[in-house]
Structure formats: structure tokens, C-alpha cells
């Protein structure tokens, strides 16, 4: 319950709006939060209300910072809104924690004890060197040094793809809304979607936009009615495009290995953080489509081949079972299902500066979900199984710098020699 006595003295609530006012809440969850769920629930609190600007969750306590912005459409007084927020937070806790099933963590590789040579946040040095430009939250431009490092990892992953004789594809950045509907993406990950629109084909609207469009802070001042209804989204993953390409027909030859790289978009609200968690990032995938054994064997082969590659460059990391960040309503069931059937394993690189790990890639098996949803059939008429191995290019470069730093004499020879701009 909201406990006014626990609020910081300078954050007392009143019914007037103030853009700078911050309110700190300490909430006792109605049911205890299992430790394996604290970070999952914490990340979801970002989506509870636009006023929430930070949250920290432990088993018996939730600390939330609320910043009334005065720019939204709330008509209630601040105390009323705060009470609503607290109630919504309790709903999230109950929805995700009540009856939750503890995931079985399966550790496939553990090389976290490999030597590291840097213990600071690479962002500081990258900014100092002018190697990154923050255009907006979660949106970064990268300079030649980082681009060269990412290019090295791209070659590493395309070599992996070649070892499977993967067929190269190129996919668009936009993805039709009706495609995402078909694979139930709206139910599973509504919070991270990024929508695309354009001005309506209406001369008055376009003229008015041209004459009046300005930004107020980061936001365009254009009325929403000027924009057309949404038909497309920015693609959240690469492999979806392949599955749609294969939809509603038999899979030629009964199996396919493909590879593609692409821009991906996942909105993460206040969780957006440096190169660790970007809104717009780049993903290289190797994708397997075929019978169950074909997909599972190739996923395992890919893991083993990558284990050797990571050993060559001395990355400190581990590979362990994981779940996708399903939204609140589906989280409990979907996450438990993924864990039980070992559908996802993440490559978690060590970040020495924060004594933590960062997922830089994953080995995924979707069973026949896409085969069934999209009617991709094998020669015997059964739905195809799919799987993919995926690597976040900015993230792996960031994790590498977090471990090796900027003293190139410490770097593995093959990476140092690859860089042309240092």
C-alpha cells in the first residue's frame, strides 16, 4: 500500500501539477516476489504508467520514482493518479508472480572466469573519443572505430553462416502489421512494438504539416489525425521475414538454412540504456527451417561452433537457458513454457564494470509454432519446425570493449589487425 510517511519529505503530494516534482513510493507487494522474477517485474514497471521514471524491485519491496509530466491526458489529481499507479503495480506483481513456476536454469557453457582487461563503462571513453553520438534515447550513431569492431563480428557470424552453407537473404526494415498479427506478436510483445505511419493523402493535412510542423522538445507538434492508420511496424526481428516468405506453401526440399542481417526495433521505455539496450539495433541471424531434428541439431552445432570462436577471441561469457520478455499477461505461462521445453539459450557476456552480464545473442527453437501459424509444410504435410541463432552486433562490440578496453595491445591479434580506423 502507498505509505505517505515513507515518501521523501520534499516529495509530498499535492493536487497541483509540477513538471519537476518527483514522487518516491515504497510499495510492499501484496504477494512476495520470487527472486527469479524481480528483474522481470522491474523491467515491466516501465510500461505501467508514463509517469514512472524509475523502478527497483526486490522480493519484499518495490521502489518507484514518479515524475508527473503535465503533458499527458490525466484528469485526476496527482494523489489519485499515484494511487492508480500503485494499484496497477500490484496487478502486475500478482499477474506475474502468483502461481509462477521457477524456471530451470540450464547452464551449457560457463567461461565467466576468463581474463578481462578493463573495468570501466566503455560508454565514457566512446563519448570522449566522439565514437558514438546519442541522437535520442536508444538511438545511437557509431563512429569508424566501433564500425570496424562490429564489422569484425559480422565476419565472424557470416563465417558461421557459411559453415552451414546458409543462403543469404535481405529483408526490409518495415514489416506489415497483418504479418505480426498472424504470429500473435501483438499478444506476446505489445509493449516493445514500434509503429510506422505517414501523412494521410490529403492536401490540406500535408500543406498544414509543411507549414506548421515543429518539434516541442523531442516531439512533433502534429495532430494525430494528420497521420494515416497504421499498416506497418518497424521489424523487431530478422527471421520473421523469412517465415512469411515461406508461408502458405510446402518448404522446397523440406529444409532450409538461411542468413540475414537487419535493423531491429524494440522499444524499451526507461529501460533503454547505452549500447546495452537500444531501440534501434542490428541483428545477424542464421535461421533453420525443417524437421524437428534438423533444427535442433543445427542449433546445437551452431552453439558448439560459436563456443570455439568465442574461445579464440577470449570472451568471458556463459550460455544458459532464458525466456523472451513476454508482456505481463502472457509472461507467466510463456516464460515457463520456454523454460520447460528449453527453447531459448542466451549468450551472456560478462560486463566487469557492473559485475553483471549482458545477453549478446541467443540460440532459439520455436518448435512448429511458425510452421503451424504460417502454414509452412514439410513434404509429409506436417508443419515445419524453425529455429535461429541471433547475435546483437552493437551489444557484442560493447561487451568486447567492456572486457578488453581500449588498449589494443591487450586485444586478440585477429581483431586488432582487422581494424583500419583506430
Amino acid at each position: 500500500m502507498l505509505n505517505n510517511s515513507k515518501q521523501k519529505p520534499n516529495n509530498s503530494m499535492d493536487s497541483s501539477r509540477s513538471a519537476e516534482q518527483k514522487i518516491h513510493l515504497e510499495i510492499t507487494p501484496e504477494i512476495p516476489i520470487p527472486t527469479f522474477l524481480t528483474s522481470e517485474i522491474q523491467s515491466k514497471l516501465a510500461y505501467v504508467d508514463e509517469w514512472i521514471t524509475s523502478a527497483k524491485v526486490s522480493s519484499d519491496k518495490i521502489l518507484v520514482e514518479i515524475t508527473p509530466t503535465g503533458t499527458d491526458d490525466k484528469t485526476s489529481s496527482i494523489p489519485e493518479v499515484v494511487k492508480e499507479i500503485e494499484e496497477k503495480i500490484q496487478q502486475v506483481v500478482i499477474s506475474m508472480a502468483k502461481g509462477s513456476i521457477k524456471p530451470k536454469i540450464q547452464l551449457l557453457e560457463d567461461y565467466l572466469d576468463r581474463a578481462v582487461y578493463y573495468h570501466s563503462d566503455p560508454m565514457d571513453e566512446l563519448f570522449r573519443r566522439g565514437e558514438i553520438g546519442k541522437e535520442a534515447e536508444g538511438i545511437y550513431s557509431l563512429g569508424p572505430f566501433l564500425s570496424g569492431l562490429i564489422n569484425y563480428f559480422e565476419i565472424l557470424f557470416t563465417d558461421l553462416a557459411k559453415s552451414f552453407e546458409a543462403i543469404p537473404y535481405r529483408f526490409p526494415t518495415l514489416i506489415p502489421a497483418r504479418y505480426m498479427e498472424r504470429v500473435k506478436y501483438f499478444q506476446s510483445f505489445p509493449h516493445s512494438l514500434t509503429f510506422v505511419t505517414h501523412l494521410r493523402e490529403d492536401l490540406n493535412s500535408i500543406d498544414s504539416f509543411a507549414q506548421n510542423a515543429t518539434c516541442e522538445g523531442a516531439e512533433l507538434n502534429t495532430p494525430l489525425e494528420y497521420f494515416d492508420r497504421i499498416q506497418s511496424l518497424l521489424s523487431p526481428a530478422v527471421c520473421y521475414h523469412l517465415y512469411f516468405l515461406l508461408a502458405d506453401k510446402p518448404l522446397p526440399g523440406g529444409k532450409l538454412t538461411a542468413t540475414a542481417v537487419g535493423n531491429c526495433f524494440r522499444y524499451e521505455s526507461i529501460n533503454l540504456n547505452s549500447l546495452e539496450r537500444m531501440w534501434n539495433f542490428t541483428m545477424r541471424e542464421v535461421i533453420f527451417v525443417g524437421a524437428k531434428d534438423f533444427v535442433l541439431e543445427n542449433r546445437e552445432n551452431a552453439r558448439q561452433r560459436m563456443e570455439k570462436k568465442f574461445e579464440e577471441i577470449g570472451m568471458a561469457y556463459r550460455v544458459e537457458s532464458a525466456n523472451d520478455p513476454f508482456f505481463i499477461g502472457e509472461f507467466r505461462k510463456q516464460a515457463a513454457f520456454q523454460s520447460a521445453f528449453q527453447l531459448k539459450f542466451e549468450i551472456k557476456a560478462w560486463l566487469p564494470y557492473k559485475n553483471s552480464t549482458l545477453a549478446i545473442g541467443s540460440y532459439n527453437y520455436h518448435q512448429d509454432f511458425f510452421g503451424r501459424s504460417l502454414n509452412i509444410t514439410l513434404p509429409n504435410g506436417s508443419p515445419a519446425h524453425t529455429g535461429c541463432v541471433a547475435f546483437g552486433l552493437e551489444r557484442i562490440a560493447f561487451a568486447f570493449l567492456a572486457q578488453y578496453g581500449f588498449d589494443l595491445t591487450k586485444w586478440p591479434d585477429q581483431i586488432r589487425s582487422h581494424l583500419t580506423h583506430v
Binding site: 513456476i101 521457477k102 524456471p103 530451470k104 505461462k333 515457463a336 513454457f337 520456454q338 528449453q342
Partner: protein, 85 residues
Amino acid sequence: MNNETLTSLADQVQKLIAEAFQVPSDLVTPELAFGDIPQWDSLGHMEIMLRLEEQFGVKIDSDTIAELISVREICQHLQELRYAQ
């Protein structure tokens, strides 16, 4: 455990699954398995697991969830738990 008890258990499981998936109970045969009907997808599977825990007062762990992928296996597992008690 006598045959009457077994039948009763199978009937209860059949009823539970039919209600969870909102399908006729005669569709829920012992052979019905994960993926056989659209309702028995990942979410549907977990819905069954949670209902089994609630109705039969058992705890189904992460390992077991992946094994209980047909009506027959669910019944067998519940039987084993009853013998173990």
C-alpha cells in the same frame, strides 16, 4: 489403485482439459497431445498445467511440464503422484 479410481481420474482430466480448451469432452481422448488441436499450444499447455496444480493439489515442476504432452501422460503422472503419497 483400482480401475474405478483410474477411470475417475481419467474422467476428471478429460473434463479439465475440455473446459480449459472449451472443446467437447469426447474430443479429449487419451491420445490427444500437444499441438493436435489449435487450443493446445504453448499458452494452452501452461493453462492445463496450472489447472492440474489447482485441481489436484500437486506441484508440477519445470522438468515435468515438458513431459506431460498428452492426455495419457498426464493421467499416468497423476497416478504416479497418488501412488507416491
